[in-house]
């Protein structure tokens, strides 16, 4: 793929500025009164320091709302089998990939050890406009059309740098994408301006619960109707940036209905958080959220608990995790190729041995199969076709082959793969997540 002769900074600036420019020039800024200094203050609401509960977070207040919810349009398909990304997709994924390789990769080791993502990296990633991708243009979004393929390509590119950091960067985008796709005009007016602004809130989509054989369609987190609103109780597991979270979308079984999504502001009483570091994704500062009789307003329920919306949310999350596995799998492949060519044993490069070379072949083969399955699921979503089957197949491939790629990455480096001098041990840990996680991300 040919690249424009821009250096990294210019290119990431270009995309960041593009997003910023759109925002600044957008009528929505005035419509929502965001230029008002008092309102602007809400943008930069400082984060609280020590947390026994979750971050108090900012106050989300509805500005002027549209008459009906805004939705991104989709491009009608050409009808031809085609693996060529659009120019916009190529530009976005290349600038994100540069950011991932130049900024995320070097920071990954320390972030993994510290179980947190450096704030300056989050700021940089916010500047890339990740949270604007799923937001309709009339609400300040950065991309004219709804595209799960675009989001998949960007997720893949980020995870090529580091999966844990990618999850930290992408977590708020899942919330803005969900609101862009399914939020009503009130919900969009209340929350989306924050996701196209300067200080993107820490936000997360919490689906997973801490138990074996978790099934996102059989939730133990429950919501019952009370006082014209809802009362939410339950525990969510491995929520990225949970302690800093200002806004959550939480999956819960709605009494008398089925699984549904609820908007939960961290300022609501009854939410507590504890760190839940895991095998991998450590830079994402995963935590366990407990909701104890949390009272939610009537407007917290997304899409009237329509089952098809919830199923779509789960499937889009699975595609996102597959996309991350593709990115990190690519990182493994790109890392082991030069290694096995340089490493010598028995008087020649180990790459000259079939046992080694075939392992590299199999990484490449399964990685490309996973990538194509992921793209297919995403492109079906964009075309309005059913895609839960394709998402399930991509997830299965990500779970099995993603894991195997992580394992082979370490194996090919032998003892050197097992120590932190090389990133493959981290990728081994991170790649296991693709078959475990539910929710968190959306494409």
């Amino acid at each position: 793929m040919s690249r424009p002769p821009q250096n990294l900074t210019e290119r990431s600036m270009a995309i960041g500025l593009r997003a910023l420019n759109r925002f600044a020039g957008s009528a929505v800024v005035d419509r929502f009164g965001l230029r008002d200094p008092a309102e602007r203050f809400l943008f930069s609401a400082s984060k609280t320091t020590v947390r026994t509960a979750v971050s108090a977070g900012r106050t989300f207040a509805a500005a002027q709302k549209l008459a009906r919810p805004a939705r991104q349009p989709t491009t009608p398909p050409s009808g031809l089998f085609d693996l060529t990304p659009t120019d916009e997709q190529r530009m976005l994924s290349e600038s994100v990939r540069d950011f991932a390789l130049e900024q995320l990769r070097p920071a990954a080791l320390d972030a993994d050890a510290a179980c947190m993502t450096p704030p300056e990296l989050l700021t940089q990633s916010d500047d890339l406009g990740l949270t604007m991708v799923g937001v309709p243009e009339e609400l300040g979004g950065a991309v004219s059309e709804r595209s799960a393929v675009t989001a998949s390509l960007m997720s893949e590119a980020l995870a090529q740098g580091d999966m844990g950091l990618a999850v930290a960067c992408l977590a708020p985008a899942a919330v803005s994408t969900a609101l862009g796709l399914w939020g009503d005009e009130e919900q969009q007016a209340t929350y989306l301006p924050e996701f196209v602004g300067e200080h993107i809130p820490a936000a997360a989509l919490a689906v997973l619960e801490p138990r074996a054989l978790f099934d996102p369609f059989k939730l133990e987190t429950r919501a019952r109707r009370a006082n014209g609103g809802y009362v939410l109780s339950g525990v969510k597991s491995l929520v990225p940036r949970a302690a800093d979270g200002e806004l959550f979308i939480v999956a819960a079984a709605l009494e008398g209905s089925g699984p549904a999504l609820f908007i939960v502001e961290s300022s609501a009483g009854g939410i507590s958080v504890e760190p839940e570091p895991a095998m991998g994704l450590r830079a994402a500062a995963t935590g366990r959220l407990a909701f104890e009789e949390v009272e939610l307003p009537a407007g917290a329920l997304i899409a009237g608990a329509r089952p098809e919306v919830y199923a779509e949310c789960i499937a889009l999350g699975r595609i996102a995790w597959s996309a991350l596995a593709v990115g990190t799998g690519q990182a493994v492949l790109d890392y082991v190729i030069p290694y096995v060519k340089e490493r010598t044993a028995f008087g020649e490069p180990i790459a000259n041995r079939q046992a080694i070379a075939f392992a590299v072949s199999n990484i490449a083969i399964e990685l490309d199969g996973l990538r194509l399955a992921t793209y297919r699921a995403a492109s079906r979503a964009d075309q309005g076709k059913s895609f839960s089957r394709e998402a399930a197949l991509a997830r299965r491939l990500a779970s099995v082959h993603g894991m195997a790629i992580g394992s082979d990455g370490v194996q090919l480096l032998g003892g050197h793969g097992y120590v932190k001098e090389h990133p493959v041990e981290r990728w081994y840990r991170d790649l296991r997540a693709a078959g475990v996680m539910e929710g968190v991300l959306l494409v």
Binding site: D82, Q354, E366, R396
Partner: protein
């Protein structure tokens, strides 16, 4: 724009291939599996129909002959936009027909792998002269299979004829084809560069059928062993350049495989899908529900097994479509062709064998076709380059290794 759905414009083609599979292949499947070496007459009529369809452009090649050189397919994709052409059409229709029966597809008159070789390297005069003839491919020898550079069959130029001597085994459709594309060396001292392919008429007196093999599967397809004893062919029957170009000639001969490997991958896809569909029906009868939303580990073991197989089938299928799409768009696809063949070959066998187990005695017994498909599938991970050869090709390309470095 990224789209991995089968284009609507191939709907008619696929529908026709499907009909062939349902009406002709399936009803004769077991019969010719049992009656190995008997000629499937039903296919003659079918070939006539398919040739008619080819001419009308409707069925753009249900077999191998329609595969074309990727580089011949026109402008750069940037300028011309994406193209869905004969390579994609071929893998789709072949998969469909092989859903019916892969052994019978290999016996379809006029659709041999030798036809692909001719399509890939013949000059215009040869293309015209051999048009419409059924061509088999003779590469393997008793002492040289995967290592095709080590073949011992020789070709000596005498006047206007090449004189071929040697032994060829495992020639698919070798008895029934009209032409045999024979690989032979012009000069064994000059190694792989001296290997050329020659078109030999089946009725050439120097080409002697030694025997027909009895096989594990694809028994509807004849597999012939030949002895070439002073077999004389006109010098115009050498495909490609007669010059021994060091480092180039063999590569061109090997290019054939870039075209044929996705086709064999497609065959594996057809068999795999037949197995999956049959097994799904049997599982449904047994009360197993397969749900794409519920995590596989929360479903029955049989359902989880099925989902696992379906996922690998999906990967194999998309890799195959990608390899064909690249050929259609003039992109070099050696890497992708071998990746597709490796994945589809092993997945086909794996799925077929697992489906036999899932269906128990129904799967294992001759009352149904699953046990046959499991036998048929295995060859698809062997011919046109074994699994191991595909991995070797992929590895050499990825690692930038020559065949002397990575043996």
């Amino acid at each position: 724009m990224i789209n991995l759905e089968v284009p609507k414009k191939f709907g008619f083609l696929i529908g026709q291939a499907r009909q062939v599979a349902v009406e002709v292949m399936r009803p004769n499947s077991r019969r010719y599996d049992r009656a190995e070496h008997s000629y499937p007459r039903e296919l003659d009529m079918l070939a006539a129909v398919i040739n008619g369809m080819n001419e009308s452009g409707a069925l753009a090649g249900a077999g191998a002959s329609g595969a074309t050189r990727g580089s011949d397919n026109g402008d750069s994709p940037e300028r011309a936009g994406t193209r869905n052409g004969s390579n994609l059409a071929n893998v789709l229709s072949i998969a469909e027909v092989c859903w019916g029966d892969v052994g019978l597809l290999l016996s379809m008159p006029g659709q041999g792998l030798g036809n692909s070789a001719i399509a890939a390297v013949a000059n215009d005069e040869q293309l015209q002269r051999f048009a419409g003839k059924w061509a088999a491919m003779a590469i393997t020898e008793p002492e040289a299979g995967s290592d095709s550079a080590a073949i011992r069959t020789t070709a000596r130029l005498e006047g206007d004829e090449y004189v071929l001597n040697g032994e060829k085994i495992f020639v698919t459709a070798g008895d029934r084809a009209e032409l045999i594309v024979v690989w032979a060396s012009l000069d064994r001292d000059q190694g792989r560069a001296a290997i050329k392919s020659f078109v030999v008429e089946r009725d050439n007196p120097g080409l002697k059928l030694d025997r027909l093999e009895h096989k594990l599967g694809i028994r509807a397809s004849d597999t012939a062993n030949f002895v070439l004893a002073d077999c004389r062919v006109p010098r115009e029957n050498l495909l490609g350049s007669p010059e021994i170009e060091l480092g180039r000639g063999f590569a061109r001969v090997m290019q054939t495989f870039d075209n044929t490997r996705p086709l064999v991958a497609a065959m594996a896809l057809g068999v795999a899908r037949a197995c999956l569909e049959e097994t799904r029906e049997r599982l449904t009868e047994a009360g197993v529900e397969i749900d794409y939303d519920t995590p596989p580990l929360s479903q029955s073991a049989a359902a989880a097994e099925f989902l696992a197989m379906e996922a690998d089938y999906e990967a194999a299928r998309l890799l195959t479509l990608k390899a064909a799409w690249m050929a259609d768009n003039g992109k070099p696809n050696s890497l992708q062709a071998s990746m597709a063949k490796a994945k589809a070959g092993r997945t086909g066998t794996d799925i077929a064998l697992r489906c036999v187990a899932l269906c128990g005695s129904v799967g294992y017994g001759e009352g149904e076709l699953l046990e046959k498909w499991a036998r048929d599938a295995k060859i698809l991970d062997i011919f046109e380059g074994t699994q191991q050869i595909q991995l070797l090709v992929v590895a050499r390309l990825l690692l930038g290794k020559s065949s002397s470095e990575l043996k």
